[in-house]
């Protein structure tokens, strides 16, 4: 199908949440093996690292596709990017119209009875190869047209993309190369390593097809070593996964000075590894290990984030969130409405308080009734790390069972806070019901404990029975407003804050009717006013 679309020169753009392929098992999360397996179908391929880039590259892809009669895949990481709420600047509809142009000017109807044609024909030895090679006339234009689209986009929006995004590569000795969300994590990791004196850089590849062979060699040729990370594993290829093979081939041509390359006289050591398969977390610590592996002349092929003989050992796990950032992590149960609440909070922090946000849930494949974790980071600047949070300022326990299984307080900073569901009235009782080892942590780390009966509030407020369960989550928003300084620091009146909150609730629940919006609002207000704290004096003692 993909081949017939490009062969017919149909300029469609597929927006793809790239996903791990079902092989030894099924997985619905991020992987690049799906798109890499169709990298030879004659489509352009662009990879975004975050929501903003996914949005911008979608437009750039569409314009280029129509300019060259070439289909494009506009790719982002499945779930990691597709299901993350991030601050974006949405292009204005007028700009998009102007930038992409009127499709009817460019699209050709190959099935028009007034202009009848036959397409999708059968060709034999006499003609098939001619047609196939003649297609180069279309494809040869793609590179320039893409650059032109990128340039025009930069002029109109100020957001400048390229085929690549080299980051601190000019003088780098070691460079990490890759595509997709972890390459943003790589940039802050490079900053961290530079502070430690490591001459690190990273090279994000936005455009995989057409493959920017000259630009890649140019960006990397001076390095001692490069490490290519890929969200897939295809060991029978022997020479490396898809991107690795292409980079190696480009360097081979450059060494010979052929295919338009300026001749080079040496090739950096090329390391390559697999990371993030099926949304396996890729952390700054993993990336640091990758640099150390290069500089130490370690494994030529490696993998990250698992226990395996080929995996790299992680020594250091720095906190690379933007300075002054605030993070929270929630432990809930599917169906409580907590993941939606997390998005609502993100919207309020972004739209009402003007912050940069990044919110995402960690879903398994399970349906309702099973534990879910959700994450939110709020900062004054773009949040570049795309990893699960292990340093948090606030832990929300919608699901109190999580206190007894696993460790929901993991990574909670000193003087951080817990906000938890509790049906109990008195702070003493709440404290008494916490497991002793958590009480110890709380006391030693000066953690504050807040609680409210979210279940009870939701049950009282929900006017529709099927929402009783789902409205527990939104009570959290009241607690958020009270426990974090954003409302207080925003300089807004209470009314202004409340009207912002209501606007956000309407955005998410408005289509379910006015009553549902009002019920949610009531839950928020009650969460705010009924919130209680377990006093420090109580915490100091064991019950």
């Amino acid at each position: 199908m993909l081949y017939t679309i490009s062969g017919k020169r149909l300029p469609v753009v597929f927006h793809i949440g790239a996903r791990a392929l079902t092989s030894h098992s099924l997985n619905v999360h991020a992987g690049h093996d799906d798109v890499m397996s169709v990298a030879d179908v004659g489509w352009g391929m662009l990879f975004a690292r975050n929501a903003q880039e996914a949005c911008d590259l979608a437009l750039i892809a569409r314009r280029t596709a129509e300019a060259t009669s070439t289909p494009f895949m506009s790719i982002q990481d499945g779930f990691l990017t597709t299901h993350t709420v991030e601050t974006v600047r949405l292009p204005e509809p007028e700009f998009m119209k102007d930038y992409v142009g009127d499709p009817s000017d460019k699209l050709i109807n190959l099935l028009d009875p007034k202009n009848p044609l036959m397409s999708g024909t059968v060709q034999n030895q006499d003609s098939y190869m001619k047609g196939k090679i003649a297609q180069r006339a279309y494809v040869d234009r793609v590179g320039d047209a893409l650059l032109e689209s990128i340039e025009l986009f930069a002029q109109k929006t100020g957001r400048r993309y390229g085929l690549l995004a080299p980051y601190r590569c000019e003088d780098a000795e070691y460079v990490l190369v890759g595509m997709g969300s972890y390459m943003e994590t790589a940039e802050v990791t490079v900053d961290h390593l530079r502070q430690q004196g490591v001459k690190a850089g990273c090279l994000t590849i936005y455009c995989y097809r057409p493959f920017p062979m000259h630009e890649i060699v140019e960006a990397l040729k001076h390095c001692k070593g490069i490490a290519i990370l890929e969200r897939m594993d295809d060991p029978l290829s022997s020479t490396g996964n898809s991107l690795t093979r292409e980079v190696k081939a480009a360097f081979c041509d450059a060494l010979n000075g052929q295919m338009g390359h300026a001749k080079i006289d040496r090739i950096p050591m090329i390391y390559h590894g697999s990371a993030g398969l099926g949304s396996r977390d890729v952390r700054p610590g993993d990336l640091i290990a990758t640099f150390h592996n290069m500089s130490g002349g370690g494994l030529e092929y490696f993998c990250l984030g698992i226990k395996h003989p080929l995996a790299l050992y992680v020594k250091e796990e720095p906190d690379l969130r933007p300075p002054g950032g605030f993070s929270m992590r929630g432990h809930s149960v599917g169906g409580f409405g907590s993941v939606t609440t997390n998005k609502v909070i993100a919207s309020i922090a972004g739209d009402v308080f003007g912050k940069d946000v990044q919110a995402y849930p960690k879903y398994g494949s399970e349906k309702k009734g099973l534990p879910t974790t959700y994450y939110l980071t709020i900062a004054d600047s773009h949040v570049s790390t795309h990893s699960e949070l292990d340093r948090v300022d606030l832990v929300i326990l919608n699901d109190v069972n999580s206190l007894f299984s696993g460790n929901p307080l993991k990574g909670l900073v000193d003087q951080g806070a817990i906000f938890m569901q509790s049906p109990l009235e008195s702070p003493e009782d709440v404290w008494a019901h916490l497991p002793p080892h958590h009480r110890k942590t709380i006391r030693e780390n000066s953690i504050r404990v807040f609680f409210v009966d979210m279940v009870h509030i939701a049950r009282e407020v929900a006017s529709v029975p099927d929402l009783q369960m789902r409205m527990q989550g939104i009570v959290t928003l009241g607690a958020f407003l009270k426990l974090t300084p954003y409302a207080a620091n925003s300089g807004m009146s209470d009314e202004q804050v409340l009207s912002g909150v209501e606007k956000a609730l309407r955005k998410y629940f408005g289509k379910r009717g006015e009553q549902v919006v009002r019920d949610n609002m009531t839950c928020v207000q009650r969460g705010y006013s009924e919130l209680k704290e377990v006093d420090r004096r109580i915490i100091q003692q064991d019950p």
Binding site: R9, L111, P113, G120
Partner: protein, 623 residues
């Protein structure tokens, strides 16, 4: 002669094609159909690419340029193709024997045998324009005076129509199908000597230049006459199908029935299979309508998308035919087909049911009959041909929400045309499954497509049916088995031999079942189970159509039943028969054997009881 402003036009005579037999237009000359799109220059394509292919220089000489990059082909280029070298024999017309039944014209797979009728006066005038006297006489001798066009109309209006059948020598593949279907000895195969070829070429040229048929002699009520109209020839000759291919005829007839109503204002999407290979192998296109193929498995999805797009453009009134073989529709594209039928969209599906993957050399499909020797279920020591039973796409389609379904064959011309016309008028999805003989895979001769399709129906291998949701709310109101012989009986009894005709008889006539018979001609157990399968399928249809209710238990023979009144009509009487929408005149050939012969040269064979019921119910009345 087709005017070629361009002296190098392929649509003009040349040394290779002195009489311009290879030219646009089927009954009269036509121009190229130019288009206004930046992707293809029709004139340049026809005059350079087609020319190079016709000259044999294409492979080496034609460049790999932008024109070939998308492999687009203009419509109708197959008209420029010359097949005159493929067959050693060609049909000859014997005017004196011709009844003007149009069966030869309708059932030729290659649009190579053409008919025309003109009022005698006009005809004489037209004829006089042929300058050479000998030529004129030669051509005039090929015109006949069948009662249908000559004596009949003359009695009514004073003028009779002269009729002719002409062969297009560039398109005929010599399959002799036309000769076989002509029950009147008005055609015979003759050897292609130089002189014969010269005469036929000239005649074909005169035929195209003498003007169109005279509308007054072409009855809209006689569906079989539709190929006298130029607009029915949407599928021109020159496709690369096997000689005698049953699919080719079915496609032509589908195109004709759609073309007479919609001209060229409709489209075809085709699933990969023989049909795409013989109609779209570069650079020859026999269709005059927009056409596209995507893949083997996705034609229904493609059609759904096109329907949405066309509707969006306000083209609701333009039909879309979505075609494919049994492999494409029963098997690999099955879920896509089901999805389309469930969508309620106004798309027509046409299944070319060869009961096998013909294109790839005969692999079994789920439409393959039990006992058939097909690849993937080859007849060997352990397994004797296909053991599974045939899946019935028509029944499955019927169970989709409000879907028009027909099962038909090209041999049953009226039933076929009606099915297509009713599918087109149905406001929703429709599926017409057509039995199509495939010579190499069925193991039958080139001239046998029609005969084998008839036998397939007579033997219950492939029952005719129409399921029209417009006819009522119950299955029995909607489902009609009209057109099958002896609809109330398990098997049909051939009146000539007084023997029942069952699936074993059908199998005996085709090479694909040859291994199911021993040297003494005795059938295998597999074949007996195949027969049982066909019987059960037929009984199911009878039950659904409400035909079993009135029967006494135990399959009593129709003869044992009390014959109904019908006293008013007898054998030999002229009658009028109501075919769903039209009255067709004809004659009762035999009240006892239940045979009607209609003036459109079709016959209807039902059992005598049904015939009498039809008379009682006013479906058949005295003329």
């Amino acid at each position: 002669m087709a005017s070629g402003e361009n002296p190098k036009s392929m649509n003009a005579p040349s040394e290779r094609d002195p009489y311009n037999n290879c030219s646009y237009g089927t009954l009269v000359d036509q121009e190229y159909r130019l288009i206004d799109l930046p992707v293809l220059d029709v004139r340049a394509f026809n005059d350079s690419v087609i020319r190079a292919y016709e000259n044999g220089t294409a492979e080496k000489e034609l460049p790999a340029d932008l024109a070939t990059a998308r492999s687009l082909i203009p419509v109708g280029t197959a008209a420029l193709r010359d097949f005159s070298y493929v067959a050693p024999e060609i049909p000859e017309y014997i005017p004196g024997n011709c009844t003007g039944c149009m069966e030869c014209v309708t059932l030729c797979p290659d649009t190579a045998i053409l008919g025309k009728v003109q009022g005698e006066e006009q005809w004489k005038l037209n004829l006089s324009k042929i300058p050479d006297g000998a030529d004129r006489d030669m051509f005039a001798r090929q015109w006949s005076e069948p009662r249908k066009y000559y004596a009949g109309p003359k009695k009514k209006t004073g003028e009779g129509g002269k009729f002719t059948i002409i062969i297009d020598p560039a398109k005929c593949k010599g399959c002799a199908e036309c000769v076989t279907v002509c029950g009147d000895d008005a055609l015979k195969m003759i050897t292609k000597t130089d002189k014969v070829v010269e005469t036929i070429r000239k005649s074909h040229r005169f035929f195209k230049e003498i003007g169109p048929s005279d509308e007054q002699f072409v009855s809209d009520n006689l569906l079989v006459d539709m190929m006298l109209k130029e607009e029915s020839h949407v599928y021109v000759g020159g496709a690369g199908s096997c000689a005698g291919c049953g699919e080719g005829t079915a496609l032509r007839m589908m195109c004709a029935a759609t073309g007479v109503q919609f001209g060229n204002d409709w489209g075809i999407l085709a699933a990969t299979g023989c049909n795409t290979v013989y109609t779209s192998t570069y650079p020859y296109n026999p269709y005059l309508v927009p056409w596209s193929n995507s893949l083997f498995e996705n034609v229904a999805t493609f059609a759904a998308g096109l329907r949405m797009r066309w509707d969006q453009q306000g083209w609701q009134d333009r039909p879309i035919w979505c075609i494919g073989g049994d492999g494409a529709m029963f098997d690999i594209g099955f879920q896509a087909l089901s999805r389309l039928l469930a969508s309620g969209m106004n798309v027509n599906v046409f299944v070319l049911d060869t009961q096998v993957y013909s294109n790839t050399g005969g692999q079994a499909s789920t439409g393959t009959f039990t006992g058939q020797n097909a690849k993937m279920s080859l007849h060997g020591k352990v397994v004797s041909g296909k053991q599974e039973r045939r899946k019935e796409i028509a029944q499955i389609a019927m169970m989709h929400p409000r879907t028009y379904v027909a099962q038909t064959t090209a041999a049953h011309m009226n039933h076929f045309y009606r099915s297509i016309i009713d599918a087109l008028s149905f406001d929703g999805p429709s599926l017409v499954c057509c039995y199509t003989t495939c010579q190499p895979e069925h193991g039958v001769a080139d001239n046998m497509a029609t005969n084998q399709a008839r036998l397939a129906v007579d033997s219950r291998a492939f029952p005719l049916l129409v399921y029209d949701p417009r006819k009522g709310d119950t299955i029995r109101q909607r489902l009609s088995l009209k057109g099958n012989p002896a609809v109330n009986d398990p098997w049909w009894t051939n009146p000539k031999t007084s023997k029942t005709v069952d699936f074993v008889d059908f199998a005996r006539s085709e090479g694909r079942f040859a291994k199911q018979f021993d040297k003494g001609g005795n059938q295998s157990d597999t074949l007996l189970s195949a027969r049982q399968d066909r019987l059960e399928n037929w009984r199911l249809l009878q039950e659904l159509a409400g035909l079993l209710d009135k029967q006494p238990a135990g399959n009593a023979k129709p003869a044992a039943r009390k014959s109904a009144g019908a006293a008013s009509l007898k054998t030999g009487d002229r009658i009028r028969y109501y075919d769903d929408n039209h009255w067709i005149s004809g004659q009762i050939e035999s009240l006892e054997t239940g045979k009607l012969v209609l003036d459109d040269h079709t016959s209807i064979q039902v059992d005598s009881v049904v015939l009498k019921q039809a008379i009682d119910n006013g479906i058949i009345v005295a003329e």
